[in-house]
């Protein structure tokens, strides 16, 4: 289990994240919401070890994250950055197979996993293509497949951190990709996902964390967090909150 205990992050002398407590629960998807500059990426950075906490600590199991040996940590924790700078002509299959680097499960099993995760993100048909010939959304799905492969099939104790995995996807793939993430969490892994779309967050997340100005503004179930008052305070938007007629989760409509 990954947890942050009273974590603060300072960048260039300015506090960008103050006093955050959270624990990622097995089998649950935690959505992180907040306007630009609210500290979402700083939170992700400190949770994945890229940024050092200026106070407080991040624990994986009961051990500080920084004291984990790199390869062992990679077997437990996978991270999808917002964008990738890969500019070499690997095939899609090769890119996804890199997710298996921390493991010694052998060629045959890795190949099965690569095929499974590619199908899971609806990219099975891209396997033999060159990564450089893909569109932005296709690339995003390939990288999601790569980090899924790193933890596949997902188990209790594993942690997946996703930074806006749907930002470049068409409406169909936003749903199918988040469905895949949801199913992955159902196998026992904890997932943290930064999202901008409030309705996607309401639909797929068990818990939500609303960040504003570097601190937690609200935390709880989608019903508790997605309230007009919170959203007005944090985003400055006026919304109506209805109930999804079929699924029952909150539905956010701008006024």
């Amino acid at each position: 289990m990954l947890q942050a205990q009273q974590v603060s992050v300072a960048r260039g002398g300015r506090c960008v994240l103050g006093d955050v407590n959270l624990a990622l629960q097995p089998g649950q998807v935690l959505g992180v919401l907040g306007p630009n500059g609210a500290g979402k990426s700083s939170l992700l950075g400190v949770l994945n070890g890229e940024l050092a906490a200026s106070s407080g600590q991040v624990l994986l199991d009961t051990q500080p994250l920084a004291s984990w040996q790199g390869r062992r940590r990679a077997q437990r924790l996978a991270v999808l950055p917002q964008s990738s700078s890969l500019s070499f002509a690997f095939s899609v299959e090769q890119v996804v197979r890199m997710g298996r680097m921390p493991h010694d499960t052998g060629m045959a099993m890795d190949e099965d996993i690569v095929n499974e995760v590619l199908r899971a993100v609806d990219a099975g048909h891209l396997a033999g293509r060159s990564y450089l010939q893909l569109s932005g959304g296709e690339r995003q799905r390939v990288h999601l497949a790569r980090v899924l492969a790193q933890l596949w099939p997902g188990a209790d104790g594993q942690v997946l951190l996703l930074d806006e995995p749907t930002s470049m996807l068409d409406p169909l793939h936003q749903l199918s990709v988040l469905d895949a993430v949801r199913r992955f969490a159902d196998h026992g892994a904890s997932v943290l996902i930064i999202l901008h779309d409030l309705n996607l967050a309401a639909r797929y997340c068990d818990q939500l964390l609303l960040l504003g100005d570097g601190s937690v503004q609200a935390c709880g179930t989608p019903e508790q967090v997605l309230q007009p008052a919170h959203l007005h305070r944090v985003f400055g938007i006026e919304v109506l909150v209805q109930r999804h007629p079929e699924r029952g989760h909150p539905l956010i409509i701008a006024r």
Binding site: G70, A74, S84, L86, S91, M101, P102, G128, Q133
Partner: protein, 344 residues
């Protein structure tokens, strides 16, 4: 994109090309030897006294051509391998092992000694080549260390800053070498030109050993970092999240390149374009996977440098061109071709 050539086809082809290059390199030169005699002489040298060969043939092969060929093989392989390493480190297929300042630093070290020897210091003549090589090696390492220091910030190595520092220090070294060239007399000028354009001339076994040690190290070590280099292409954060100690990998790659290129320049002067073009060409053939790319580049680097050296020896025979001119004459247009091709 699937690689143009399967590695099972490419490797034997490269190995055959390499053997052919070695054979030609042993046989051709100011005195051309029959190919069969060359083989016999080579067998005699290795201790298999099967047939008689003219003493002169054996002497030429063993004392002149063989050390020169070995030097070319190692310099070519090391430059190509370190080229792959730098292109991986900088995540840029247009990077060159000289980017981190090591080649120009080595040339500067050599130039300092050449000018120093001609003006102020006198050394026993036997020692001169060793001092020269040592100075080139030290110069390369020093400038690289400086570039590395300049690229460090908050305990992290910023490759973009390193790149800029490398360009700046390369320009500075070039300016100092230029100043020496301007001040030099005729014989010093020839020696300086030799270092700045490279040559395999004057190879001898005694000067091969240091390069051999470094080359074996590079050839042994770099392919063991193939997975880390693949992960680095995704990005440094991504490599870290895949479990690699990225700072350590970067340090090791830089050290490996500094040692390899330093030793290569110390032994044969600055030879451009091999470290840039060979990895690029091999990537087109086998794809970017370093597990295949590194061995292919080593083979191709050795073979192409030997062929370039043959051209350097034969085009203006009995005189010799600096090999750097040949590699640049072939490499630069090829590079431009690659640029146009990738744009289209």
């Amino acid at each position: 994109m699937n690689p143009v050539l399967n590695w099972r086809v490419l490797y034997p082809l490269l190995a055959a090309l390499l053997l052919l290059a070695v054979w030609l390199s042993l046989a051709l030169g100011p005195v051309s030897l029959p190919l069969a005699d060359t083989l016999r002489a080579l067998l005699n040298i290795t201790g298999l006294n099967l047939t008689e060969v003219q003493a002169q043939t054996e002497l030429i092969v063993s004392q002149i051509r063989l050390p020169r060929t070995l030097l070319g093989l190692m310099v070519g392989a090391v430059l190509a391998l370190t080229g792959v390493a730098m292109q991986g480190l900088f995540r840029n297929p247009l990077a060159d092992p000289g980017l981190i300042g090591v080649s120009s630093g080595a040339a500067l070290g050599a130039s300092l000694v050449i000018v120093g020897l001609s003006r102020w210091i006198t050394l026993p003549v036997v020692l001169e080549p060793y001092v020269l090589s040592a100075a080139a090696f030290a110069g390369g390492l020093l400038v690289t260390a400086l570039v590395y220091r300049l690229g460090r910030r908050d305990g992290q190595t910023q490759v973009a800053t390193m790149l800029l520092a490398g360009i700046a220090l390369t320009a500075l070294s070039g300016a100092i070498i230029g100043l020496f060239t301007y001040l030099a007399d005729d014989s010093t000028l020839r020696a300086l030109t030799f270092w700045n354009l490279g040559s395999l001339n004057g190879a001898s076994y005694s000067r091969l050993w240091p390069l051999l040690v470094v080359a074996l190290g590079v050839v042994y070590w770099l392919p063991r970092r193939a997975d880390a280099l693949n992960a680095m292409l995704l990005g440094e954060s991504e490599a870290r999240h895949l479990g690699f100690d990225v700072e350590r990998v970067k340090r090791e790659l830089i050290l490996c390149t500094a040692l390899g290129v330093g030793a290569a320049v110390a032994a044969a002067g600055m030879i451009g374009f091999v470290g840039l073009v060979v990895p690029h060409l091999m990537r087109l053939l086998v794809g970017p996977d370093h597990r295949l790319l590194l061995p292919a580049s080593a083979l191709a680097g050795g073979a192409l440098l030997l062929l370039a050296d043959l051209a350097a020896r034969l085009i203006v025979a009995p005189a010799e061109m600096p090999i750097g001119i040949v590699t640049a004459l072939i490499g630069a247009p090829f590079f431009i071709y690659l640029l146009i091709r990738s744009r289209g």
